[in-house]
């Protein structure tokens, strides 16, 4: 997993609320046995018509946002299906950070496993950054994970909270299976205990 430390980039505004993972990556593209190559189908049904032509109104098709690395989104981003193909598609497109007032739990967790930082901010802050993002390539937003601050293009800053363990893993690009396997003696001990307490499991 790639580390995430500081990112300065173009932010695409997506004010729609309840953007679900079916929108982020439609099921048609879940028939892969790989993690890579999903960026071309990110937001497929919003981005393209049935013949594969771009929808010019869709934000990521507009010249200013083709290289966006951040999405500023409406409430409850990533709701619905648990498909990790959603963060895989975002990452493959080049998105490393999503900013919203709230995220669905499973999507939120999936982001951290893939080097994507989901930032939760209050509605006023998200609205401010949403406005900032509408300025396109002229407005570059900075997300600093170490100091936990988002900086708008005019220098206005917004501090955010993040789980300390998740931050540590993201900043160092750590594989958490490796970390958990270091605790195998605790898992062994649990299994021994459980065998006596809950032998039917």
């Amino acid at each position: 997993m790639d580390k995430f430390t500081t990112l300065t980039g173009i932010a695409a505004p997506m004010p729609l609320v309840n953007i679900d993972t079916d929108m982020i990556i439609p099921k048609l593209f879940l028939k892969t046995i790989k993690r890579s190559g999903l960026g071309k189908n990110l937001f497929d049904e919003m981005r393209f018509d049935r013949d594969g032509n771009e929808n010019p109104d869709f934000v990521l098709n507009q010249p200013a946002y083709r290289n966006a690395e951040i999405i500023v989104a409406g409430d409850n981003f990533g709701c619905g299906s648990s498909r990790e193909h959603a963060p895989w598609a975002l990452l493959d497109f080049g998105i490393r950070c999503v900013i919203s007032t709230s995220f669905a739990d499973i999507f939120f967790n999936n982001c951290f496993k893939n080097g994507i930082l989901p930032v939760v901010l209050p509605a006023e802050a998200v609205n401010y950054l949403m406005d900032d993002a509408t300025n396109g390539a002229n407005a570059r937003i900075t997300v600093d994970l170490e100091s936990q601050v988002v900086t708008a293009s005019d220098g206005k800053t917004f501090p955010f909270e993040v789980d300390a363990f998740k931050k540590h893993c993201l900043m160092n690009g750590l594989d958490d299976i490796g970390l958990s396997l270091e605790k195998v003696s605790a898992i062994d001990a649990y299994e021994e205990r459980a065998k006596l307490q809950y032998p039917w499991v």
Binding site: L16, M23, K27, K31, I33, V184, I187, A189, E191, V201
Partner: protein, 468 residues
């Protein structure tokens, strides 16, 4: 004396293998369910790292999302990508020695129907699957939730998850349900009240007289859609109804083990005075048969209501509703019962169990579906299908003009050939009405099996209570 605990607290505490100072826990997982769509990358990850499955005996796999539901499927899957995915699961199950129900097995079906049916899901357990509707298993008083593929790999390798404890939310349904009102109406009504993000960060415990009165099938329907309300998991404390369902299932404990398990399961309830961070209460008598009109499960109204206007909403929802009405082809003020439908889908992990088929068949008996309507029943498992055939339900569906299909996820998410055409409108017993969910530009109205059957007969959304 220890502080009073919620049911969630008790199950959580019983599964913490290690807790770090900051509260991050390694939570032990008792059952890991696996399907073909969200697992191939996880098994590949194991192979690349030279890791094995830590507890293959606690890992159960079944293909469901991609499988065709036509009887000729035994000859193989036409779609190459789907076939590759199912073949990969076949191979992974064999290579890693995990329990497996292949397409050819009569016990095959939707993973969330097969788990309980086979007795893999038991009270007090932790159950995970790379699928958001894992919440279904909470009906047994087990802590069950969906995970992503990286977490699937983590569970395969370590039989644990790295987790922080969520908050406790109580959803109480008091009193009794009125005739024609079902578990599906309860779960949709709750989402209508709390919104799709109302449960984010919480584990919900459903309780109250109306919940107690539900069968296990109904309880699974309620918990199934906890995720649609944003909650990671939904729980119902186990009781005699639960124990009676579990007893005698192939993987349920037997003899002395059963007695020991039962004694433990009877301790799985929320203690008097335990703290909930949020409480929502609905009167059972107030819940009506409901239907969704928009593209989010929170867009739900009683069937006798009219389509709302964007002006009825505030904030970001105004634009979302404009978009939803345009997508759904509906006009504010239009009566929901005037909305004509093209397709009816009865099935899914929400409503693909025997009780659901009985409810639909009771409405359909002796009737025909409306001209021009395409209707299909996709039983949740091969065993549900067999039981429905034995009970004569299959014949009722066939006589009414329904297609009688093989088990799978089917048109709930339309990864297999069962899909809506653009603009086609479906009365569906599934769980999501998202844009494109049942097919590109397809339009979905979520409702109960009885309401779906009534809509099939009339050709438009219909109040099942007016339908004798």
């Amino acid at each position: 004396m220890t502080a009073p605990k919620t049911l969630y607290d008790k199950i959580w505490d019983a599964h913490v293998a290690q807790e770090a100072e900051d509260g991050t826990c390694l939570l032990y997982i008792d059952r890991h369910l696996v399907h073909e769509v969200t697992s191939p990358q996880a098994f590949e990850g194991l192979r690349l790292a030279g890791r094995s499955v830590r507890a293959p005996g606690k890992t159960i796999a079944v293909p469901d999302h991609n499988v065709p539901t036509t009887e000729d499927r035994v000859k193989g899957i036409d779609n190459e990508e789907s076939r590759i995915q199912v073949d990969a699961l076949d191979k992974n199950a064999k290579d890693f020695g995990i329990h497996y129900y292949p397409v050819s097995d009569v016990r095959q079906g939707i993973v969330h129907i097969v788990g309980p049916e086979q007795g893999w899901t038991l009270p007090g357990m932790t159950v995970v699957c790379g699928d958001s509707h894992t919440a279904t298993h909470g009906a047994f008083g087990s802590l069950a939730h969906g995970i992503g593929t990286s977490e699937v790999e983590h569970v395969l390798a370590t039989q644990t998850l790295i987790q922080r404890k969520g908050k406790n939310m109580k959803v109480e349904i008091t009193g009794k349900l009125m005739p024609g009102v079902t578990a599906k109406d309860i779960t949709l009504a709750v989402i209508g009240k709390t919104g799709t993000a109302g449960g984010t960060g919480y584990v919900i415990e459903y309780c109250g007289e109306a919940i107690r009165a539900l069968s296990m099938e109904g309880r699974m329907t309620v918990c199934n859609m906890a995720i649609e309300g944003g909650a990671r998991a939904g729980l119902i404390a186990p009781d005699e109804t639960t124990f009676a369902y579990v007893m005698g299932r192939p993987h349920a404990p037997k003899g002395a083990a059963w007695e020991a398990a039962l004694a433990y399961w009877k301790t799985l309830y929320t203690d008097e005075g335990a703290h909930f961070d949020k409480v929502v209460t609905l009167r059972g008598e107030d819940i009506q048969p409901v239907v969704t009109w928009g593209t989010s499960p929170e867009d739900v109204l009683p069937i006798n209501a009219t389509v709302p206007s964007p002006d009825d909403f505030t904030g970001g929802k105004v634009e979302a509703v404009k978009r939803a009405l345009d997508y759904m082809g509906l006009t504010p003020g239009q009566k929901l019962t005037d909305v004509k439908i093209d397709t009816v889908f009865i099935g899914s992990c929400t409503n693909g169990r025997i009780e659901d088929l009985r409810a639909a068949a009771a409405v359909l008996k002796g009737k025909k579906i409306a001209d021009g309507v395409r209707a299909m029943v996709v039983p949740g498992s091969g065993l549900v299908r067999a039981q429905a055939e034995e009970e004569g339900l299959a014949q009722i569906f066939i006589d009414a003009g329904f297609e009688w299909r093989m088990a799978g996820c089917s048109m709930c998410l339309a990864m297999n050939p069962d899909q809506l055409a653009p603009g086609e409108r479906c009365a569906s017993t599934s769980n999501r009405n998202f844009e494109g969910r049942q097919g590109y530009k397809g339009r979905t109205h979520l409702l109960s099996p009885g309401m779906a059957a009534a809509a099939a007969v009339t050709g438009h959304l219909t109040d099942v209570r007016d339908f004798a």
